[in-house]
Structures are given as structure tokens and as C-alpha cells.
């Protein structure tokens, strides 16, 4: 699966584990607005992985997309 890992969850450990599990991981666009990150992920046909549910759900509801995995609590490597 191709994943866009948003900056708020993009720890080296998580990226490494996702890659080890066979996922293609796209590095986050540092300091960019959520809308820019979302657009980039859609251009890359990637599922977005983020902790920021409020803003990315709003973007996801605007139309068709490649997927959104939103965790309301961090600690994704555990």
C-alpha cells in the first residue's frame, strides 16, 4: 500500500516499521498546509495516515480520495 505519513505521526520508527511491512511510504511535506499535503497524497494515489482527524476528514469529505487512516491518539508504533 502506498502511504502518505503526515508530519504529526512521521517518526523514524513508524516509517521504518511501515516500510518493513512492505508499504511504500511517502515522506511528509514539512511545514505545508494540510490541503497541500492532501492534494499531494491524492496526486500520488496514496492513503493518508494522520493524527489530525478534524482537518483531514474535512478534506476527505470534499470528494473521492485514495483513503484516510486517522488515529485520534498518537503512539502508532505501539
Amino acid at each position: 500500500m502506498r502511504l502518505y505519513v503526515d508530519e504529526d505521526v512521521a517518526s523514524a520508527e513508524l516509517i521504518s516499521r511501515l516500510a518493513e511491512a512492505g508499504h511504500e511510504v511517502l515522506s511528509p511535506l514539512r511545514g505545508q498546509a494540510d490541503s497541500r499535503c492532501w492534494r499531494y497524497a491524492q496526486e500520488q494515489s496514496a492513503v493518508v495516515l494522520t493524527m489530525n482527524a478534524v482537518d483531514f476528514v474535512a478534506l476527505a469529505e470534499e470528494g473521492a480520495h485514495h483513503g484516510l487512516v486517522s488515529r485520534s491518539a498518537p503512539g502508532l508504533t505501539r
Partner: protein, 191 residues
């Protein structure tokens, strides 16, 4: 009850001489406290004093004494915004935290529709998200800095801010959780 040792253990060895040993500059103090107090003290030490419990307890007691003395002199001890300070006032200096809340190097405000907490400078990441991730993963500030390619100082500043702005961060996290759960339910219904 947890036993709280304030002074780190050190080994001493004395030669057998006729002279009296020099007076101790530091003293060991042990106290039986509830588990929650033990956790609170250690958390405070970790966030504000690089894990040194004795420094955290000393600074906390100094601040407490400052408050008591001010009250005994008939003063009120309150908190107010910097732009509404009265003409004359006294302010405590907390050892090791003199610059706390004065100037932030690594955290910034951002024009965001609903989030009011501070963000990591140059990153699309809130201070609260970083501090919470560090706590849940059990990383030290150094480990977290390496994990997110950030300066250690930025992680420490975020942790300290998260402690101060705990209520605001909790409210924003609750909002986020509600939206995430709503979205999950909505998607489950579609499937």
C-alpha cells in the same frame, strides 16, 4: 505508598583519620507519599528538570514558600495576562525555569480555524501531539528529537508547554477524537 528519594544515591568512602568529616552539603530526605504524588513529582522532574527529582522538589518548595510569605504579608497571589499587569507587583523566580513562558524559540502561534495551541516552528505538528507521542512511546527528549528530526530543545519546549496548556490541549484532542470516531462510524455504515 511510594518512597520518594530526593537526593540521588552516591557512594562515599572515608579514610580512617582523626579529623571529623566535612559537614554534608546535601542531605537525604525520604517521605512516604501516595503513588499519585510520586508520579506527579517524577513527571514534573522529567519535564522541567531533566529528571532530577531533588531540583524539582527544591524549586517547588521555594515557590510554595514565596506564596505563603506573600499571603502572610497580606498579598493576593493571582495569575493575569502580561498586558493586564498592575503598576506594581512581585513575581517569583522559579529556579531553572526563569525564562519559562517568556520567550519561545521553537513553538509558534499559527492562524488555524480551530486550534489555539502552539505549533512546532516550521512543522505541521502541534506541541500537544508531539508531547503526547513522546509520553506514550516512552521516549526521552533526545530519542524523540532523533525520531522527528528536531532539536532536543524543541522537544523539551513542547513538553513544558504541554504541561502548562494541558486543558487547552485536552479540549482540542477531545474535539479531534469526536471527529475521528464520527468519521469511522460513517465509513462503517457505508461499508
Amino acid at each position: 505508598m511510594a518512597v520518594l528519594d530526593m537526593v540521588p544515591k552516591r557512594r562515599h568512602s572515608y579514610a580512617m583519620t582523626a579529623t571529623a568529616p566535612p559537614p554534608k552539603a546535601r542531605h537525604r530526605l525520604s517521605a512516604d507519599v501516595p503513588e499519585a504524588t510520586d508520579a506527579h513529582v517524577r513527571h514534573t522532574a522529567r519535564v522541567f528538570y531533566r529528571g532530577v527529582v531533588s531540583d524539582a522538589v527544591t524549586a517547588a518548595l521555594d515557590t510554595f514558600h514565596w506564596i505563603i510569605e506573600a499571603r502572610l504579608r497580606g498579598k493576593r497571589v493571582i495569575a493575569t495576562d502580561a498586558d493586564t499587569l498592575p503598576g506594581a507587583f512581585e513575581e517569583p523566580v522559579i529556579a531553572g525555569l526563569e525564562a519559562l513562558g517568556q520567550e519561545r524559540l521553537w513553538l509558534v502561534k499559527r492562524d488555524h480555524p480551530w486550534r489555539r495551541q502552539l505549533w512546532i516552528k516550521g512543522r505541521n505538528m502541534t506541541a500537544g501531539d508531539l508531547a503526547r507521542t513522546v509520553a506514550i512511546e516512552g521516549w526521552s527528549a533526545e530519542e524523540a528529537a532523533a525520531q522527528f528530526d528536531l532539536p532536543v530543545e524543541a522537544v523539551v519546549e513542547a513538553q513544558r508547554y504541554a504541561e502548562i496548556a494541558r486543558d487547552l490541549i485536552a479540549a482540542e484532542e477531545a474535539e479531534n477524537r469526536i471527529v475521528a470516531q464520527g468519521y469511522e462510524s460513517q465509513r462503517a455504515a457505508v461499508r
